[in-house]
Structure formats: C-alpha cells, structure tokens
C-alpha cells in the first residue's frame, strides 16, 4: 500500500528501492539513472526525456490542464454552448447557483448519493471480502462472480436493472409481492428513484471494493491472529482490534478512489432516470452535464463544475492530511 504515500512523496522511493541493490556510485544522483557518462552531456538525457514523456504531458496540458483553466474562465461568462458571443458576469453564475432554491436539493441528492455509495460500498465490500477470505468451497468462483459487474458497461447495467425494478413486471415487484408488500414507485417517486440508482451503483461497484479488501486481508499475518486466538480473543475482537487497524491504508485508498468515481458517476443515472423524476436523482455532476449540454448554459455549467472541483480538491486534501496522522503504514 504505498500508492498514496508515493503520490505525496514523489520519486523518493526510487532511492529507497534501489539503495539495497547497491546502485553503485549513485549517491547524489537519483539511484536508478545509470547512464555512466551522463554528466558530460545531460542535454541528451533531457532530450530523450522529452521524447519519451513529452507526448503524454502535452496531451495532459491540452486536454486536462488548459481546459481546467478555461473552465474557470467560462464560469465568469454568461455564455451559451456554441454561441459566438459571451457576456462577462464576474461571479454572477456562482451567485445564481448559491441563491437558486434548487441548489439545496442538488447538494442534498449529491451528498446522499455519495455517502451511500462510498460508505455503503465500503461496508458491503468489506463484508464480502471477509466472506470470500474464509476457506469455503467455491470462493474462487464467487470472487469472480462478485467482481464481474464491475467490468460491465454502466449503461447496460442501468438498463438491465431498470427492468429488474419494473414496478409491475420486474423481479423486485415479484419478491416484494411474495411477502405481501406492494412495489414502491421506483420510476415515479424522486426518493425511491434515488434509492434505486444507489442500489444499482452499489451492485456494479461493490466487487471492486471487495477485491481490494480481500487482497489486504490475505496479507494480514496469520500468526498475529493465532496469537490473539491463543490469548483467548474472540474472532470478533481479533477482527476489530487487529485486522481493522491493519486495513487502515486500504480503507484510505478506497475512500479516495471510490469517492472520485462516485462523484463522477453518470452512466447509470443517464440510463435509468436522466436525473429525474422531479430532479430527484440530479447530482452535481449530472447538473453539470444537463446545464452544459441540455440547457446549453455553458457558463453556468462551468461554475458548477468549478465549485465541485474545489470541493473535491479540499476533501481529498483533508483525507490525505487526516490520514497521514491516523493511519500507520
């Protein structure tokens, strides 16, 4: 689990990894660079570096970093997508967003969706992982099956679940009918529709969380658990006091990656509800799409995008700061 650590440390671990191999004279130079006569003409290495890394970096600048700044600029315009003219409005779009009565709903929907998919995903994923980590026949096949939905198209998954949730002719209706409960109006009620897309999102993605937790569980030293058991600790206690703390770095990694993908989720919502009914499944990310490409309000959409990106950045930084203190690697 050095993933995020390295993310912060940059290339320090290059030295850490290479040092035990005795990378020779490389005391002042980064350990893995071993072109013997490089000091004579460093420009040659620089040129090669540019040839090797340049295209990728150029693409990132053109299609990620430049548009990031452009988006910031667009957010200060009253501008319709495709229109040649734009009116500078300063922070007008932001003011409009914060004062819009619909904003409370969009933020609430985003929060519920994010917390339910990230939190729910981690809890269910961990449960699955614990289950799959036990010595049961068929657990290998079960692991494969649990992960399978993760590789499927979100659109296809959304559509097939739409039929599962059909209030008259779907599986959920039949199962609920069997226990004498009428199917909730999944399609027509904004709250039930939100529950529906959350369930589908969890179904598709929980296998990934389970897989990562499973890999982490399998690296928990067995003698630790045996020692705990000999000391008379119950399996539950051993899990809480030994295993869970050891899963800290994994939980941290998952909290960041699943948060990022949850906030970006679009396919399932587009296939199932298109943000409706009554905008009950319109998350901020969906609002960005809708305002920009359905309503054509590109400036306003960019303002929402900027707000969301700022939130994302702050949350990620807090996660990293907080975890740096709490998790021991």
């Amino acid at each position: 689990m050095t993933t995020i650590e390295d993310l912060q440390r940059g290339t320090d671990s290059a030295v850490a990894v290479a040092a035990p191999n005795g990378a020779g004279s490389a005391t002042t130079v980064p350990a893995r660079v071993f072109t013997p006569r490089k000091k004579k003409k460093p420009w040659k290495s620089w040129l090669l570096f540019l040839l090797f890394a340049g295209p990728n970096v150029a693409l990132l600048i053109v299609f990620t970093y430049k548009p990031l700044l452009q988006s910031l600029y667009y957010s200060t315009l009253q501008w319709n997508l495709g229109s040649a003219s734009a009116i500078p409005v300063g922070l007008g779009n932001y003011v409009t967003w914060f004062n819009d009565p619909g904003t409370v709903r969009v933020v609430t929907v985003t929060l519920i969706f994010t917390v339910a998919t990230v939190g729910g995903g981690m809890v269910i994923g961990l449960l699955f992982a614990v289950l799959l980590n036990r010595k049961l026949h068929g657990r290998g096949a079960a692991r494969t099956i649990v992960v399978a939905p993760y590789v499927l198209s979100g659109v296809a998954v959304g559509l097939l679940w739409l039929f599962v949730f059909d209030p008259n002719f779907g599986i959920t209706a039949a199962l609920l009918d069997a226990i004498g409960v009428a199917s909730p109006p999944w399609y027509n009620d904004p709250h039930w529709a939100l529950v529906m897309v959350i369930i589908v999102y969890l179904w598709k993605n929980v296998g990934y969380v389970a897989l990562i937790y499973l890999a982490a569980l399998q690296s928990v030293p067995r003698d630790l658990l045996e020692a705990a058991s000999l000391d008379g600790a119950s399996p539950v206690r051993a899990f809480r006091n030994i295993v869970l703390p050891l899963l800290g770095p994994t939980t941290f990694f998952l909290s960041i990656t699943t948060l990022l993908s949850s906030l970006q989720s679009f396919d399932i919502i587009q296939a199932m509800t298109k943000g409706g009914p009554l905008e009950g499944t319109t998350t901020m990310m969906y609002q960005i799409y809708q305002e920009g490409f359905q309503a054509g309000r590109a400036g306003y959409s960019s303002a929402v995008a900027t707000i969301l990106f700022a939130v994302l950045l702050v949350v990620t930084l807090i996660q990293m700061k907080y975890v740096e203190k709490r998790v021991h690697y």
Binding site: G10, T11, L60, V155, A156, L162, E226, T306, T316
Partner: protein, 283 residues
C-alpha cells in the same frame, strides 16, 4: 478471519454453514439480474408483461435479437467500439510505458514536477473539463470522428503511475547489463523492460481495454450520427423509442453489449483481477 486457523472444529461447523449461506446469497444477488436480462432477451411480449412474473421463456427464439439488430446498426456500434478501444487503449499503453520509463530511468531537471503533473491529473474528473474539450473538438471538426472520440482521453495518468511503481521493482542488474551493451534507451525499453514486465503490462492493458469499451459520456457528447456511435451510446437508441420500453428487444441489445465483456472477463479473470488489484495494493 480467525476461523481459518485458530478455532476448534466444534465452533467451525455453524460458522461454516453461515459462510456458505452468505456466499450463496452474494452470488444470487450478483447473478439474478444478469439471468433476468438473458431470459428476457428470449421472451415474447406477453411473457414479459405478465403478473405473476414468468421466469423462463416458452421458447428460446431469437426474434428479439433480430428486432434489435434491425432497429439500430449494431454492426457499426461493434466496429466503432472495437476501433476506438484498440487504438485508444493501445496508444494509452504506449504513452504510459514511455512516460514511466522517462520518469524512472532518464534524467531531467523538473522530473518530480512532471511526474506530479501526471499524477494530479487523476484528480481532475472528465466532467470538469468537458465543455472546453467539446468546444475544442468541435472547432477542429472532429465531431462524429474516431479522433474526436479517442484523442481527448488518450493521456495516461494511472497507467504511468502503475508502470512507474513496477519499474522501480525491476532488478537493476538486467538494466545495467543492457546499458553496458550500449543499447539505446528505446531498445532497453522494448527488448529488456517490456518483456520482463509482461504480466503487469497485460493487467494494465486489460483494465484500459475494459474502460475504453465502456466509456459513455464522452462518445455521447461528440457523436450524434448513429453510424459513428459506440456500443454503450448506441444501446440507448433501443430505449423508449415509442414512449413504452420494449423490454424484450432492449434486453436482447443489452445482452449483445455485455456478453463479449463477460466472456472476456471469465476467460482472462486472473489477469483482470490482478490489474484491478494492482492499483490498490502495490507495496
């Protein structure tokens, strides 16, 4: 957890039973919706719109599939998805490998900054930059083209990161031998590093292929002609054509989109799972 090794067989029995129940439940939840989709693809209208629900179709005929293929150009979708996936994932791998090589093995004054630039891009969601990118692609006349679908998402951030992690673990002796041989960096990458990194490359490649294949939002924005659509975008054309969803046909279409991926997944599951895990557990 602890039951694996540390409990007595007396306590193990009921726990095992609970474990199997849980396993069966988990598998059922995962398989039931997929089975429902498969079966619906064969059902006639009156078998779908019936209460109580009818699980199995009376006959396994392919009329829904024929209807789906007749309603939308699935052949084109398939071709477009294949082209954009192969080229997109292929170039992405190339960019990831060369960038990781540069970051690990070459010297450059702003190396850390460059690597940081690549990694920070992981935090920028596609949706944040889609309006400027759409404007750019439109101004280049790339709407409804393969380059319009492929190029904006081509840069490799995650792949670069994973390859870098892997390169740092390579035995330095092999590379020193290559350097003494006088091999150029290009040769070193392809003759020495790529062959011994094959498992990692395969894992990352499979993950790239899966995500390119399933990519939806961007192709949805830059393609509006049905003959240029990819599978996920084209599939939605079967939805609600006349206000009422024809589930049989829609599910047949959904099967056509999901089955190639499912087959590939089950055939290559070890590598794909290794690829998925590589991101999470690298040390």
């Amino acid at each position: 957890m602890a039951t694996q090794t540390a409990t007595t067989s007396r306590r193990r029995k009921p726990l095992q039973l609970g474990g199997y129940l849980g396993l069966v439940l988990a598998i059922a939840i995962m398989i039931l919706p997929l089975a429902w989709m498969f079966l619906a693809g064969f059902k006639e209208r009156d078998e779908i719109y019936t209460v109580p629900i009818q699980w199995l179709p009376e006959a396994y005929d392919l009329s829904n599939y024929a209807a789906a293929l007749a309603a939308v150009p699935f052949g084109n979708f398939f071709l477009n998805s294949t082209i954009t996936t192969v080229i997109g994932a292929g170039l992405k791998m190339l960019l990831g490998l060369t960038t990781a090589y540069a970051v690990v093995f070459l010297e450059f004054p702003f190396k850390k900054f460059v690597f940081g630039l690549v990694i920070f891009a992981l935090l920028v969601p596609q949706q944040i930059v889609m309006i400027p990118n759409f404007t750019l692609v439109a101004s280049l006349g790339w709407i409804n083209t393969y380059q319009g679908i492929i190029v904006p998402g081509l840069a490799s951030a995650f792949g670069t990161f994973l390859f870098r992690q892997h390169f740092l673990t390579l035995p330095i002796s092999i590379l020193e031998a290559a350097a003494l041989d006088g091999a150029s960096h290009w040769t070193r990458l392809w003759r020495f590093i790529v062959p011994i990194s094959a498992p990692t490359i395969a894992a990352v490649a499979l993950i790239s292929i899966v995500s390119e294949w399933n990519e939806y939002l961007w192709p949805l924005l830059v393609v509006d002609r049905s003959d240029m659509m990819t599978l996920p975008v084209g599939l939605t054309l079967l939805q609600n054509n006349d206000g009422v969803t024809n589930w049989g046909v829609l599910m047949a279409g959904t099967v056509l989109v999901t089955v190639p991926v499912l087959i590939a997944f089950f055939a290559l599951q070890k590598r794909i799972i290794a690829g998925l895990t590589a991101g999470g557990v690298t040390g």
